[in-house]
């Protein structure tokens, strides 16, 4: 399965010049825990960085800095690990493992962001496979019971 078939299509952006307080408001508004940082949301959406709610607490509040005075640029993670929408899920998982991240922006065609894929998405997919496997075993066992009789 390709990443673009499973990823969450909604991605929320902010500019590197947005204040951390502004970024926090955007996260709250959209009920998300992270924002992809881009220069021009209408043009090239190649991510410049990612900022998470955790970063806001650890790098700004936890250091007694005023979130209104700090810009996203100072706090965001970069470079960003991305995956192409046409890549396979196994490649996305491998990238998460290698870089120790749980969410990866998904690039579509024309330098546009297609969405975000998370470890949770992959986990749910694996769980579906496991359930299907269990169903095969269940069926085999029930058929076996009937044949023996």
């Amino acid at each position: 399965m390709q990443v673009q078939q499973l990823c969450t299509p909604r991605v929320y952006f902010c500019s590197p010049r947005t204040s951390v307080l502004g970024a926090a408001r955007l996260m709250r508004q959209h009920h998300v825990g992270d924002l992809v940082v881009v220069d021009d949301p209408d043009g090239d959406q190649t991510p410049l960085g990612i900022i998470t709610d955790r970063d806001i607490v650890i790098d700004v509040l936890g250091r007694d800095r005023d979130p209104a005075q700090v810009t996203v640029h100072e706090v965001m993670h970069h470079p960003v690990v991305v995956v192409d929408g046409t890549e396979d899920l196994t490649q996305a998982l491998e990238r998460m493992r290698v870089h120790g991240v749980r969410r990866i922006p998904v690039m579509g065609s024309g330098r546009r962001l297609h969405g975000i894929i998370s470890l949770d998405d992959l986990l749910r997919q694996l769980a579906l496979h496991t359930t299907a496997l269990a169903a095969v075993i269940e069926r085999e066992q029930s058929l076996e019971q009937r044949t023996v009789r």
């Binding site: 307080l21 926090a24 709610d53 955790r54 607490v57 650890i58 509040l61 936890g62 209104a68 986990l123």
Partner: protein
């Protein structure tokens, strides 16, 4: 497999009167995004969990009450009366609790209601992954032994 065998024991705690800024500093120093708010039970004298505080809760509080950030305490922002799980309960029971409450972490309590750890979905996942590895290993070994014995 019971909760006590899988949960993390090194929990980072705060008291409800601690400043929110201090909680943020603690999250930074101890590399965590989840704090358990504890209070001494007057009857039993143990530290029992009365709330949980996540990094997201802190961020939400900052936006809502930016002018008074310095005045906020952990007790003002925490999720009170958190769903907890006893050490002696099964993993199935723990997962059920997580699902019902819509959370990924549960403070773990001992027999006297004292905080004794935290169980997260990640801990259960790690354990399950190990079990799946064992199944794969059993299959591999069976093939290998079958190949050796009957060749």
């Amino acid at each position: 497999m019971i909760v006590g065998q899988l949960c993390q024991r090194k929990t980072v705690t705060v008291s409800p009167k601690d400043e929110l800024v201090a909680a943020a500093r603690l999250m930074r120093e101890r590399h965590v995004g989840y704090l358990v708010v504890v209070e001494e039970d007057p009857a039993t004298e143990v530290l029992r969990p009365i709330g949980v505080l996540t990094d997201r809760d802190i961020v939400i509080a900052v936006i809502a009450k930016e002018a008074e950030l310095k005045a906020l305490r952990a007790g003002d922002v925490m999720n009170p009366q958190p769903v907890v799980i006893e050490e002696s309960q099964s993993i199935e029971a723990a997962l059920q609790q997580m699902r019902r409450a819509g959370v990924r972490r549960l403070p773990v309590i001992g027999r006297r209601g004292e905080l004794s750890g935290v169980l997260s979905l990640d801990d259960v996942l790690d354990y399950l992954a190990g079990q799946v590895q064992n199944v794969a290993g059993a299959i591999r070994n069976e093939r290998q032994i079958e190949g050796t014995v009957r060749s």
